[in-house]
């Protein structure tokens, strides 16, 4: 039922789906008015949406390799853009980004620039060429372009390190949301999240992930934009917040001065009382508060990382043509832009709701006991995401006495701003969609690389299709479980892990991928040296900085990709030039990749 006709009917199908989802939101709103409890609304939202994704996953089941690995290469441009946007925007973008902007302001917004600017690199340097190549996975490209199992294996190693770091963060995010929305302990919620992720991808591979990701994009974008517009209008800040919040941004600066931001500092003893992971506002909202190099180095790492992360790249293998792959990158970024340009607006509205004494929702300047009696404060305090304490003993809440977890900015703002609970339920469903869609893409990227590149290409090239796909599924489940187990340990916060993943990917894969297309002289020895050397240098730098080494050039543990990728570039060029040039067949292959027409390098079934 999912062939031919299905593709033509996509706008209708997803139109109906969107309509159905809006009806569901309205029904929930009515139920809330009729007295349905907040808990129950949360449970309905999360479980209803997850069941829909699972249904799509089941309907898209397949036993064909090209459907399993690249969705049959028939995903239309715009829909692939939506799927990529969901694949791309993770729990970090949805749940954590606005929080980061809320706390750290301008310096943090380097991530906005980095996570969008990277797509220019994807479109111009890589995506169309890799699509022409006709590979199933990113290591498939590396292995065929450079030749030899060593290059293939190195690419799989880098891919696994980067994607695995990333996926633990996403499973952590699904766990956090599931535990809040379904009211279950985090350690169990992580496995609930995992089960939902596997339901979407196990039976249908890339095909199932594609169609669930489109569905997840629709949920997450509605869930993100609706509260932003609603709060802005409710506050009287502007009908269209993106273009109309200049006065609010200025007002925050005014309030920051009034409340003595930056002048009043908390003592170390006071800060000890604050639960781990929560922070107060210490940085000005819109002021330039960081050095150019800090901003730029973070942006550069995120951009190069974007162009090296296999789960993003493999989305462009699913388009029908090279031309479609190129356009699809534009659509992806457009759909991402819708959310990213809203994140600073959400941070602004959220901050003003809390800070402005002229607003009914403002809490700064109220008495501590009054704040502690607010319903939403009690809820989020219980979830360990909010905290107030009367450090100076004057009985009123000062700006430096209010602490919040980064996740709470997105998840709690609707409640703080006095929106009905149905919106909070919607936001939880959106966060779940964002984290699940990315986790799906990542788990699939890893298991596809292991099943296609390691098992089929290296261990058992004679394996039949059925066997290959069973191996792929077993690996998928194993990797999911490994990810969930590590996620349950909560080693690093969601955002920290995500940024690391970009740095790992950039260290090992950026130059081997780019030079594979743009430098004919690059050979297997150079690529292997570049991938492994880059990954090792980057990881070594990270470990050194984590254990107290001050570092150089202002490169921190968030930007270690700069060290890794430079080492990778130098090694790759030097080793390539020192060893034999690639043979004529490889050179011809590169020429072939550079023009859109003609046959793909790798056949339809390989």
């Amino acid at each position: 039922m999912f062939k031919g006709k299905f593709i033509d009917n996509l706008p209708k199908i997803y139109g109906t789906y969107t309509g159905g989802f809006i009806v569901f939101i309205i029904l929930m709103a009515i139920a809330e008015q009729a007295g349905m409890s907040a808990k129950l609304i949360g449970i309905f939202f999360v479980s209803f949406t997850v069941l829909i994704y699972a249904l799509i996953g089941y309907l898209s089941r397949t036993m064909q390799t090209d459907a399993y690995y690249v969705a049959g290469r028939q995903v239309p441009t715009v829909f692939n853009g939506m799927a990529t946007a969901a694949d791309w925007m993770s729990g970090a973008s949805f749940v954590a980004m606005a929080g980061g902007i809320y706390f750290k302001g301008y310096g943090y917004m380097a991530l906005l620039v980095g996570w969008t600017g990277g797509y220019v690199l994807v479109a111009s340097l890589l995506a169309p060429y890799l699509r022409k190549f006709g590979c199933y996975t990113v290591p498939d490209f590396i292995g065929t372009r450079y030749g030899g199992n060593m290059a293939r294996l190195s690419a799989v190693i880098v891919l696994t390190v980067a994607s695995f770091t990333y996926v633990t963060a996403q499973i952590n995010a699904t766990g956090t949301i599931a535990s809040v929305a379904l009211d279950i302990p985090f350690e169990i919620a992580v496995y609930v999240g995992l089960a939902s992720i596997l339901m979407c991808s196990m039976l249908g591979g890339m095909r199932a992930v594609t169609w669930t990701q489109v569905a997840q994009y629709i949920v997450l974008i509605i869930a993100y934009l609706l509260p932003v517009f609603w709060i802005s209008n409710k506050m009287g800040a502007g009908v269209f917040p993106h273009f109309m919040l200049a006065d609010e941004v200025a007002r925050i600066a005014e309030l920051e001065a009034q409340f003595g931001l930056g002048e009043i500092k908390n003592s170390a003893a006071d800060l000890k009382q604050v639960p781990k992971g929560l922070s107060g506002i210490t940085k000005a909202h819109a002021e330039v508060n960081t050095t150019p190099w800090k901003f730029i180095s973070l942006a550069v790492c995120m951009m190069a990382g974007t162009a090296s992360l296999p789960h993003v790249m493999m989305r462009y293998f699913t388009t029908p043509s090279v031309k479609a792959a190129r356009r699809s990158v534009g659509w992806s970024l457009f759909f991402i832009f819708l959310l990213y340009s809203s994140a600073p607006m959400l941070a602004t509205l959220s901050k003003l709701s809390l800070m402005d004494p002229n607003l009914a929702t403002g809490i700064i300047g109220k008495s501590i006991s009054e704040v502690q009696a607010i319903d939403w404060y009690q809820n989020w305090n219980q979830a360990n995401l909010m905290f107030v304490s009367d450090f100076n003993g004057n009985g009123t809440l000062e700006l430096n006495e209010f602490f919040m977890g980064g996740k709470a900015v997105v998840l709690a703002t609707p409640e703080i701003a006095g929106l009905p609970y149905v919106i909070s339920g919607l936001v939880a469903a959106g966060g779940m969609a964002a984290a699940m869609s990315t986790a799906d893409g990542l788990v699939l990227a890893i298991s596809n690389a292991l099943s296609h590149d390691i098992y089929y290409k290296m261990i058992n090239p004679k394996a039949e299709t059925a066997k290959r796909l069973i191996v792929a599924r077993i690996l998928l489940v194993l990797i999911g479980f490994a990810g969930a187990t590590i996620a349950a340990l909560e080693i690093q916060g969601i955002l920290g892990s995500v940024i690391w993943a970009f740095d790992f990917a950039m260290s090992g894969l950026f130059f081997p991928l780019v030079l594979g297309v743009w430098w004919k002289r690059a050979n297997a020895q150079g690529a292997v040296a570049g991938m492994l050397g880059g990954l090792i240098a980057g990881s070594a730098y990270l470990i050194a900085v984590r254990s107290g080494y001050p570092g150089f050039w202002g490169v921190t543990q968030l930007t270690f990709g700069i060290v890794g990728s430079l080492v990778s570039l130098v090694l790759m060029v030097v080793v390539s030039l020192m060893t034999k040039a690639p043979d004529a067949a490889t050179q011809r292959m590169v020429d072939e990749v550079r023009i859109p027409s003609g046959k793909a390098i790798l056949g339809k079934q390989h």
Binding site: P76, T77, Y106, M109, A110, L112, V113, G114, T116, G117, Y119, V120, L121, A123, S124, L125, P128, H242, F243, M244, L245, A246, D247, V249, A250, A286, E287, V288, T290, P292, F295, I296, A299, V300, M303, T319, P320, S321, V322, K323, A324, R326, R327, V329, G330, L333, F334, F337, Y340, S341, A343, P344, M345, D591, R594, I595, P596, S597
Partner: protein, 104 residues
């Protein structure tokens, strides 16, 4: 324009007649350089001048310029840049007859 001159100098090959495919690649590379130059300006270049942008009297929609560029300006330019790039590349491919037969 100096960019163009530099590019010509870097890529100039004397007395060699280029094949169709080489010409295609030449033009493709040229487009890449222009695209990356624009990308560089808005993702890296302007952020060397964060403080200057903040102090600037240019305030799009009333926001400080530095704030505006990080939350909308650069992002929007990237979206437009990719579509522009895709269009130009399609024209180049057409010119040399490298357009794919089956189109979506």
């Amino acid at each position: 324009m100096s960019f163009w001159v530099m590019f010509r100098l870097l890529t100039y090959r004397e007395g060699k007649k280029m094949s169709k495919q080489q010409q295609h690649w030449e033009k493709t590379r040229m487009l890449l350089f222009i695209t990356l130059a624009i990308w560089f300006v808005f993702s890296i270049g302007i952020f060397f001048f964060g403080a200057e942008m903040e102090a600037s009297s240019i305030r799009p929609l009333g926001y400080p310029l530095s704030y505006y560029m990080t939350c909308q300006g650069s992002l929007g330019i990237f979206v437009i840049l990719i579509f522009w790039f895709a269009n130009r590349q399609e024209k180049i491919d057409e010119e040399f007859g490298y357009t794919e037969r089956e189109d979506d």
